[in-house]
Amino acid sequence: MSVLVVQNKDERAAFDEVFLPHLPEAYRLAQWLAGSASDAEDIVQEAALRAFRGIKSFGAVNARAWSLTIVRNTAFSWLTKNKSRTVVFLNDLSAAEQQELEYEGLHGTRIETPEEITLFKADAAEVQKALAQLPVQFREVIVLREINQMNYRDIAEVTNVPIGTVMSRLSRGRQLLIALLGDRR
């Protein structure tokens, strides 16, 4: 019995060491993925619980990627469960539409953005709105890259896709964002 309590204490210590330092990042990621502060808090709490329960599976390699992976997955299942119409999943789309989005742009053509959009003076609200319009799979790589400032390898780990997919999604996602922000001007 005492051994078990110690075991539990060890798990708490491990959790404190592995997950807690990344709480601010976890919260930010959750907020960007969910789009609302209260949802983000729910997601992070749920993710923390999952992380605690699964702390033994932490392989002591990359605590940050491990923690954010849990947050990301929790956010995804949360979004699926409480799906609002504004959240677009790539999986919701037909294969052709997915193909189109991943490789061609929003409306079946390559994303062509006007040359004059070279500098943004978009305010935070506009960027936020544009980001929210992106399919989640694009949004997450952009958030992980720009907000969490992760490298490609870690993004690939967190999103569980090959690096090549991370690269193409980043590129596509940015073009989509630029197009959306450009439309707004």
Partner: protein, 257 residues
């Protein structure tokens, strides 16, 4: 309109902005960038997007979130401990079952091995006996004098048995030979009873070889503190038992070196 970049240029541009190009590729890309207006425009645009993204207000962790998580984990704790306990019980059961199973199977294996070994020893001893009968003579050292046979063994083996002459009991000492049982050279004392040859092989003490008949030869075994003896002969087992009695009676007598 900016001329479309090829997909690979687009990816390269992104990778360059993200600092993911290796130094050589980055250097190459910078040279291209310097000479390509359209590429330059796209690069500037990506950077301004980045600036816009990074200037987004970053929400701080709500105060109390960490405390709420901690208390949630505290609440998790009792049930978790019970779960652990339950699990550990089943672990114990599992461990017990495994240990029990291991005990059983190792016992089975040991029994099988011991049985094999025993039978193996007996058949090896009998094989030595048969081989000796096929050889021109069943011994390496021929002597009816125990004071010749004993030193011969002593010179060759780590342990040598006493070699009593049992001629008075009907078992004349013929000599001795070295057999190999397992990988160990062992002393075998050879006696003659009428037309029958008796091989008495001496093994490490504490082994048990059951009384049996192998290939028509009777096997009889006994032990004292120094050796396990295995007698092999085509003698009837009653005569072999008489041999054992005679040897056991003679062997304990302190040997004069």
């Amino acid at each position: 309109m900016v001329a479309s970049l090829s997909d690979s240029d687009e990816l390269q541009l992104n990778a360059y902005c993200d600092g993911e190009l290796d130094p050589v590729s980055a250097n190459e890309f910078e040279r291209r960038l310097a000479n390509d207006e359209s590429l330059k425009a796209r690069h500037a645009r990506l950077l301004s997007l980045r600036r816009a993204m990074r200037s987004l207000p970053q929400a701080d962790v709500p105060s109390g979130l960490q405390a709420r998580i901690q208390s949630k984990l505290d609440a998790e704790r009792p049930s978790n401990v019970t779960a652990l306990r339950r699990r550990s019980w089943s672990f114990q059961a599992l461990a017990a079952a495994a240990v029990f199973g291991a005990v059983i199977s190792s016992a089975v294996m040991m029994t099988i091995e011991q049985y094999d070994q025993r039978e193996n020893v007996a058949s090896q001893v009998v094989a030595g006996h048969i081989r000796s009968l096929l050889a021109p003579q069943p011994f390496d050292i021929a002597s009816s004098d125990r004071h010749t046979v004993k030193p011969w063994f002593t010179a060759r083996l780590p342990a040598s048995p006493q070699v009593p002459d049992l001629a008075a009991q009907g078992f004349a000492l013929l000599g001795g030979r070295v057999d190999v049982v397992g990988h160990d050279p062992v002393a075998t004392v050879v006696y003659k009873h009428a037309a029958h040859t008796v091989s008495l092989t001496t093994l490490r003490p504490g082994q048990s070889v059951s009384e049996q008949t192998i290939a028509g030869y009777n096997v009889r075994s006994w032990s004292d503190g120094d050796f396990t003896y295995v007698a092999v002969s085509d003698l009837p087992s009653a005569d072999l038992a008489a041999f054992q009695r005679a040897f056991a009676a003679a062997a304990p007598a302190p040997e004069i070196k």
